[in-house]
Symmetry: C2
Subunit: 728 residues, 2 copies
């Protein structure tokens, strides 16, 4: 089997591969002759450079920068106010769009007969018009996307603007370049050599982000290090910011609440303390002096050991407002995370963020957005939507997603996450009656906010292919596309990504698309089916540990699955923790009713007897086993589908995916067998027929230890007796 030339994945979806069909290639060459930029700015230069790079690669010949916007085959770049927009009749259309909006308009020459179009001899031109320069850049990337996915340039007429103002990546990158929950190598930010040397890869990162409309990058871990707020680091941050700026990307940082104490020895970090307030103003002023378009902060406070306003008896709102006030005059945004819970609070962990934040609605400054994870626990393979969405009408809420597959197989498992994201976005909060989706909450249309956004914990590291698994970049891509337009479908996004990343060949695209779309459900099935959640091993989030029952209760597995002789699942009905009360009617009643609760969330909300019959006719126990098996089977189908695609993609990426699927299949079995064997100690029921025997015993699974799993520090620390002192 012959393959196309090896690729290492570095180019991501920006490969701009020439069509293999000679006619299609000829047509591109006829249609595209020169890139003509009206005006000048770093952003317009970036747009032009990208077009020349992309069109040159698509056409297999250099596309020059031209001067004359009337030449046939010209691609004309212009922002609002340019005369040329009138010639294309788009000035009006552009007027209706926000500052990041763009139009792309093909225009036949007035004197060219229709027949020349039909013959493929295109005498026309294409305008890429932006409301501002960055709109032009987005239009350029969109134009390239259309061509790279096989659209005909003659047909293009697009007007587009983002539905959300903030479209951000959260890098949980530490200053030592390790990444919390990073599975694709180490941080791109080489703090040691910044600001004097900026790795060219940082520009390629910005290109990739801009190509899908991402407009902000939070450089540092939410478990924050105050050192980044010192002047030497701000210089380093600014060096990155200057590279990103041309691509419309603003830099954000995480702020550690106790920084005034840690950096300058203040006796307190109390938000009501005048010196503390002055400290934040001074620090923020310093940042803006060096980086005038600094975006703002993300803060994780009073959660998982981070300091916060509650150390001083102040509310989360007071804490947020302290820093928001320092940012306000510079236009900076304060993103305050609602991911809070406390093992000393007896309340169901899934309820605590709502309990704590809902009463604060209305008490935040205008430049504060509360950042809410998609579900109420923590980035599990499946969760119900977070009940805060819709419940804080006076507060802008940002949706926080996770691209790093912390609980979904890290960068080793193929798992396309857009279906998970869409599940949340499409959830109905009923906040203003039916149709009040999470998407409409976060885009501001439901509750009339202009501070809107989505952010995602990235899966990006310094692995050559950026995200580790050759398919993992699809999640970066999908996040950007959905943040731009949450109405796009998972399938359409996946297809776009596949065509640009691998091939436009339908014989490749169709089966690969099927793999991607089935992949997230496969992970749910072999890890946490039927609404189970938080079953992972201790100390790291890799591999199964349903037996985990030591340490903080709300970090154990038994806290969440509650398996016993009667059944399994967390009773969150009024008979249990009553988490359902945080959801609006009519959803609340549906979730609270075991018979009506969707099966995929059944054990999230209910403790269900082992012999309870389910929709399939199987008992709960049988269904649980069947789902675990189904998950493994789905991975094997992926292996088989991928095997059939040998030759359709290059050997390097083919083998990479093939090997990782082999690991995924092993680990799917590991999850299945460890969980089924463990739950069987409660159900006392036989595993149904047709189910493969487990490879190891439960004790063997429990005895497995994994050290140095990426994304977290879990060193091998042998329990060894003290050695005798050295003697000679």
């Amino acid at each position: 089997m012959t393959h196309p030339p090896d690729e290492d994945g570095y180019e991501l979806w920006l490969r701009y591969s020439s069509p293999r069909d000679p006619e299609a290639l000829l047509r591109l060459r006829q249609q595209l002759s020169a890139v003509v930029t009206v005006g000048s700015s770093p952003t317009l230069a970036a747009a032009s450079a990208e077009l020349r790079r992309g069109l040159g690669s698509l056409c297999g010949r250099a596309i020059p920068a031209g001067m004359d916007p009337t030449v046939p085959g010209a691609i004309v770049l212009a922002a609002s106010g340019a005369q040329v927009l009138n010639a294309f009749g788009v000035a009006e259309k552009l007027h209706g769009l926000g500052r990041e909006g763009f139009v792309i308009q093909a225009k036949a020459d007035d004197d060219s007969p229709d027949s020349s179009l039909a013959s493929g001899l295109w005498g026309g031109r294409t305008l890429i018009g932006g409301v501002t320069d960055v709109g032009v850049l987005y239009g350029a990337f969109h134009f390239l996307r259309l061509l790279a996915t096989g659209h005909d340039v003659v047909d293009i007429s697009v007007a587009s603007e983002p539905k959300l103002a903030l479209r951000l990546l959260n890098h949980w990158d530490n200053l030592d370049r390790t990444i919390e929950r990073g599975y694709a190598g180490f941080s791109l930010w080489d703090w040691q050599k910044l600001p004097d040397y900026v790795d060219p890869r940082c520009r390629d990162y910005a290109r990739a982000c801009a190509s899908v409309g991402i407009n902000g990058s939070v450089l540092t871990n939410v478990n924050a290090n105050s050192l980044v707020l010192t002047e030497p680091y701000i210089e380093k941050v600014a060096a990155l910011g200057r590279v990103f700026r041309a691509y419309g990307i603003r830099v954000f940082l995480t702020a550690r609440f106790s920084a005034p104490i840690e950096l300058d020895g203040l006796p307190t970090a109390d938000p009501r303390d005048k010196d503390v307030q002055a400290w934040w103003r001074r620090r923020v002023d310093n940042i803006y002096r060096v980086l005038p378009d600094f975006g703002g902060f993300v803060v994780k406070a009073n959660s998982e050991g981070q300091p916060g306003p509650q150390n001083y008896g102040r509310s989360q709102a007071e804490g947020a407002n302290l820093i928001a006030d320092a940012l306000a005059e510079h236009g900076g945004v304060m993103m305050w995370r609602a991911f809070v819970y406390d093992h000393e609070v007896p309340e169901d962990r899934a309820k605590q963020a709502y309990s704590e934040f809902k009463p604060l609605d209305g008490s935040f400054r205008a430049n504060v957005a509360v950042q809410v994870k998609n579900g109420p626990v923590d980035f599990q393979p499946r969760e119900p939507y977070h009940p805060l969405f819709g419940a804080m009408p006076k507060t802008p809420l940002l949706l926080e997603l996770q691209l790093a597959q912390e609980y979904l197989g890290c960068a080793t498992h193929l798992c396309y996450l857009a279906p998970l994201f869409k599940e949340c976005l499409d959830s109905d909060t009923f906040a203003d009656g039916p149709g009040s989706t999470v998407a409409r909450v976060i885009d501001g249309s439901l509750q009339n906010h202009t501070l809107t956004g989505m952010c995602a914990v990235t899966n990006i590291g310094n692995d050559r292919n950026w995200c580790g698994h050759p398919f993992a970049a699809a999640n970066w891509y999908a996040f950007g596309r959905l943040a731009w337009d949450h109405a796009l479908s998972s399938g359409d996004i996946a297809e776009e990504w596949l065509r640009q990343t691998f091939s436009n060949d339908k014989r490749f695209v169709d089966p690969a698309l099927e793999m991607m779309l089935a992949s997230r459900e496969a992970v749910v099935d072999y890890m946490t089916p039927l609404g189970l959640h938080h079953l992972m091993a201790v100390g790291h989030h890799y591999g199964p540990g349903p037996w985990v029952n030591e340490g903080r209760p709300d970090w154990t597995s038994v806290y969440f699955h509650r398996a016993d002789a009667q059944g399994i699942g967390f009773d969150r009905t009024p008979r249990g923790s009553n988490a359902v009360e945080q959801y609006p009617e009519p959803l609340r009643a549906e979730l609270a009713d075991q018979a009506r609760c969707p099966e995929e969330l059944l054990l999230w909300f209910h403790h269900v007897p082992w012999d309870q019959p389910l929709a399939s006719g199987r008992t709960l126990w049988q269904e649980l086993c069947a789902r675990y098996q189904r998950g493994v089977d789905a991975v094997r189908r992926m292996q088989s589908s991928w095997g059939d695609l040998q030759g359709a993609v290059d050997a390097a990426r083919f083998v990479h995916v093939e090997n990782l699927l082999r690991i995924q299949e092993q680990e799917a079995r590991w999850w299945r067998d460890a969980c089924v064997l463990y739950f069987q100690t409660f159900s006392k029921r036989p595993v149904p027929e047709g189910y493969e025997p487990a490879e190891k015993t439960l004790d063997e699974y429990r005895a497995l230890r994994h050290y140095y799993v990426p994304g977290i520090s879990n060193p091998f620390v042998p329990k060894a007796p003290r050695l005798p002192a050295k003697s000679r």
Copy 2:
């Protein structure tokens, strides 16, 4: 200024760039038609693949694998025993070489008149013959090197074999992928995905190593982790070993002396304990079962906190022999490090290794080699050679070098190390009269050893260009070339590397070569001139800290420079620590005599009065200042030379080097000013005229703190008061 296309440095010196001169290109095309392999093995396949890749790239057209060794332009690959060797008349020549040796022989066709050669119409063929398959591989790489550096294929007649048996890289890589003293990113070994997925980069690593004759790779840090000896990790190690095998590279590991306790709960690690002996045999047998060509171990014992035989009152030799016995039946080598010192021992740190190891000469097993650093302290910019060389005639000694510039500016400073290496290799130990160089000690010719070798702590990480600084790969290259043939000159090696890495254009090569050859002396001058050593900042080895005087005395700077009101330098004459006694006569007397001691080692061996006149006519104080200034000036000359080369190399690498030289110039000034200001507090003398004023005050230099410097863990740990408990 136009540049050649951007390169990222990944290809190292294996770029195989076509000659720009059309005649030279035509000549190559005429001379090279097909690669014909006689016999088959993974190693021959690797040789053939590399030749086709390299010759294809050099010729700008595909070079096929052929079947007929008689076709004009054939490059014939064959190992001993093949019939074709006779046709080239090289069978005899090959017979005289060791198993890794090779010949390359061009042969005109018998019937081709001389005139056709003169006309450039080469009807001949080229043989690359190896004693074994790996010899063929080395020959293939050598042939490519000759062509890539501009040699004419018609002229080639080479016979070569390595002077040393072991030519090893030491990776100080931890299992969490951090690298101790690693300045070019993180470990290439992705333990998490091994053995199921092996990054293709590992093969490219093996190619690069093999191209310069490196035949072993010690995968793990000498500060060892016993986990690597467990079965799951041995499987991972073996996966790498299988990739390396085709390239003649064997895998080695570091062993932690207390592993029997840590892994299996043995009550002791005493080398005389039968269970401990059995434990090592069992573990080693397990390794060889999985990896039959495993190379052996490196052990750091009873040094810097590592456990060792002295914890049980046993000698270093007994410790080495314990593990050597387990390895012996498999042909494995035990490399035992002589880098030992103890702050509880009052003796001069520079003397301790000699004191401890010399008495052990003759008590090591035959498969033990004692691994000795080039100098008696620790990889300083300049040290005298280690006095153990020549002093242990009955023991094979390996020379340990460091490519990672732990004390020479990390991967930020341009510093070509071959002159440092050669300085050691060419040092005369007088062990068997004049001419008893270190090179002759380690190649076994002086004291009749066959277990011979050199190893080097690598500077390789997962940075795209492998070694961080675009010039740092020259040190990897030079190490391999010198390990193959220590008689090569620094200049010849540098020129080879430059031609392959950048360009054959003399207008580039000459000035770049001059930069490289001057670079190490520049570092000595701006960091530690005149024999000074160990002046770096505390906690990491980055930046100056001549004032460091806290903690372990033998880790302070004041221990080594001993500056006082009278003068500066460590008196190692008989009036002082008498370290000179470890050196043989006549060297001993020369070093002990301040008037005869080479100036570049003056303060290593002598405490010299500030006003002592030196060869220049300047006083010591004046000379010290002059040398520091000279170091800075040398960096500025490098900047200027490099600036002149814009356009001669691609823009990406040009800018990278340019930016790093800017950092180097800043840091050279930092070293100069911090050291001169500090030493001035003792000398009380004015800085001579013509010396630039320091940018900061001494107190400001002393107050600088650097966190998260690569290569070591030095986190920012703020001294902050405990926060009040959370309350709501």
